[in-house]
């Protein structure tokens, strides 16, 4: 079962997540940063619940009221030109 892909965009497997958790004994957030699970093109829209579930299992962190793996803008893939427009407006 461990060879299943959890995060498709970044091609992170269940095994990658488990190994990282074991090696670094770290938080869900750190696992995410190390493996890039949930940080790909889709912004986690596809895998967020799956990544959260796996993280809960491997780290034992229970889901709290805060969104576990914080959402950052932009929440959709956008071109850098569009993002620059965002800066100009400020």
């Amino acid at each position: 079962m461990d060879h299943i892909t959890i995060c498709r965009c970044e091609e992170v497997t269940l095994e990658d997540i488990k190994n990282t958790a074991k090696k670094y004994q770290c938080s869900a957030r750190e696992i995410k940063l190390r493996t890039r699970a949930g940080m790909g093109y889709c912004g986690g829209r596809t895998c967020r619940p799956a990544v959260d579930a796996v993280m809960e299992q491997v780290t034992g962190e229970k889901p709290g009221h805060d969104i576990p793996l914080k959402v950052q803008p932009p929440v959709r893939p956008v071109s850098l030109a569009t993002l620059r427009g965002m800066q100009d407006d400020k």
């Binding site: 889901p63 969104i67 932009p74 569009t82």
Partner: protein, 404 residues
């Protein structure tokens, strides 16, 4: 500057837009899909009274109304960030530039939860919702013969839609238990959910299913003695004691590997076999799509009754950020009728702030809130059993946050 920008043109966003236009507010609705209607577009069910709920028709009615009120609805625009500049001044960042408004309504609906099964990245594997959109919105045949992994309200309803469209389904069964599939892979838990859709299946399932709704003990027994051949719904077997362990194929789906499972979801050795299929639909349930609520800084509550993390709000669809409103499935997973009714509430709440001296609006708002409850209680499609408790908890969270 707009009085209100509505993100999402599903039933919630559209009905809110209609209400805001009825009170003559300056409204912009944006949606990232090519057409308005949201998840309504794919829906087609027969209600217990024999009437059909046809999402395309329902969308048309909403759109006719919105158009008669000259509502500005723009599709193909994706919001990627929401920003508060100061009180009642917000910026919506999109792929087509920025838009400014005094109020925001976030009505972005729900997304599907992926239930990864080994092989789920092969071409030919799709979420059940994708199969619904391909079939009912794009009118594309998803394949010749398929199987549905995951048995729940949504997958049963969509499996029926696929059948009606002439798509051949072998059966529905559970995913094998792994770190992610959890309750979707547990026959007893799935049975609990199924007893709530018994009414969707007029014949066999009704007789079989309604007996289970009574007591927990009976449901336990039912999973214990679940028939080997499955229970047929509209001629298609639903298996609670079989699970898919793997989707196989070289460049595309060719078959699935299936095991019999025990009443608590464990694989039974020696029961392995392969079923040839050319497409697979995975159904892992729905969760509120609340990314935009997160980036603007709304507080959240994790409430399983509502389908996951939902932004804190009250019955009037107000949030702790003055001028930001939410409606529809972002507030909890429910049927389209509830979403539509919540949109009206949000529209009235927004109008109330901008239309002076119309005491009538308070009364209308109260009525609209009542209407949401009535529709909820009469809903034929219910995604979560304790929805009303979830609604009560979120209301309390709102009070705690606003009064602290």
């Amino acid at each position: 500057m707009y009085d209100v920008i509505i993100v999402g043109a599903g039933p919630a966003g559209l009905s809110a837009a209609i209400t805001c236009r009825e009170w003559d507010l300056h409204v912009l609705v944006i949606d990232e899909f090519v057409k308005p209607g949201g998840r309504l577009l794919g829906q087609l069910h027969e209600e217990p009274n024999g009437e059909w709920w046809n999402g395309i028709e329902e969308t048309k009615q909403l759109m006719d109304k919105a158009e008669s009120l000259n509502t500005d609805i723009r599709c193909g625009i994706s919001a990627h960030h929401l920003e508060k500049v100061k009180d009642h001044h917000f910026i919506v960042h999109t792929n087509k530039g920025n838009f400014e408004a005094k109020n925001l309504l976030i009505a972005t609906g729900a997304a599907e939860t992926a239930a990864p099964v080994p092989g789920w990245t092969l071409p030919g594997v799709m979420s059940i919702g994708a199969a619904q959109v391909m079939t009912n919105v794009h009118r594309v045949r998803v394949g010749e013969k398929g199987i549905v992994i995951g048995v729940n309200v949504l997958s049963a309803a969509i499996a029926r839609e696929l059948q009606l469209a002439g798509v051949n389904l072998h059966s529905m069964m559970l995913p094998a238990m792994n770190s992610v599939t959890k309750e979707h892979a547990h026959p007893k838990k799935v049975m609990d959910g199924l007893s709530r859709i018994a009414h969707l299946a007029p014949s066999a399932f009704l007789r079989f299913g309604s007996r289970f709704t009574k007591s927990d003990f009976v449901r336990k027994l039912a999973t214990q003695f679940y028939p080997k051949s499955g229970v047929k719904m509209w001629g298609m077997p639903i298996h609670l004691r079989k699970a898919v362990t793997e989707i196989n194929g070289k460049d595309r789906v060719e078959s699935v590997t299936v095991f019999d499972i025990t009443a608590d979801g464990k694989l039974i050795k020696g029961t392995e076999r392969r079923i040839e299929v050319d497409f697979v639909c995975i159904a892992g349930g729905l969760y509120p799509l609340a990314e935009l609520a997160a980036v603007i800084g709304l507080p959240f509550q994790y409430l399983e009754e509502l389908g996951g993390h939902v932004p804190v709000h009250n019955k009037k669809m107000e949030t702790p950020i003055d001028g930001v409103y939410v409606a529809g499935n972002i507030t909890g997973i429910e049927s389209a009728k509830v979403a539509r009714a919540q949109g009206t509430v949000a529209g009235l709440s927004i109008a109330k702030k901008h239309v002076d001296g119309k005491a009538d609006l308070d009364y209308r708002l109260l009525k609209a809130i009542e209407q949401v409850k009535t529709i909820r209680n009469e809903a034929t499609i219910q995604f979560h059993p304790h929805i009303s408790e979830g609604r009560e908890k979120i209301e309390q969270a709102f009070r705690r946050i606003v009064h602290s």
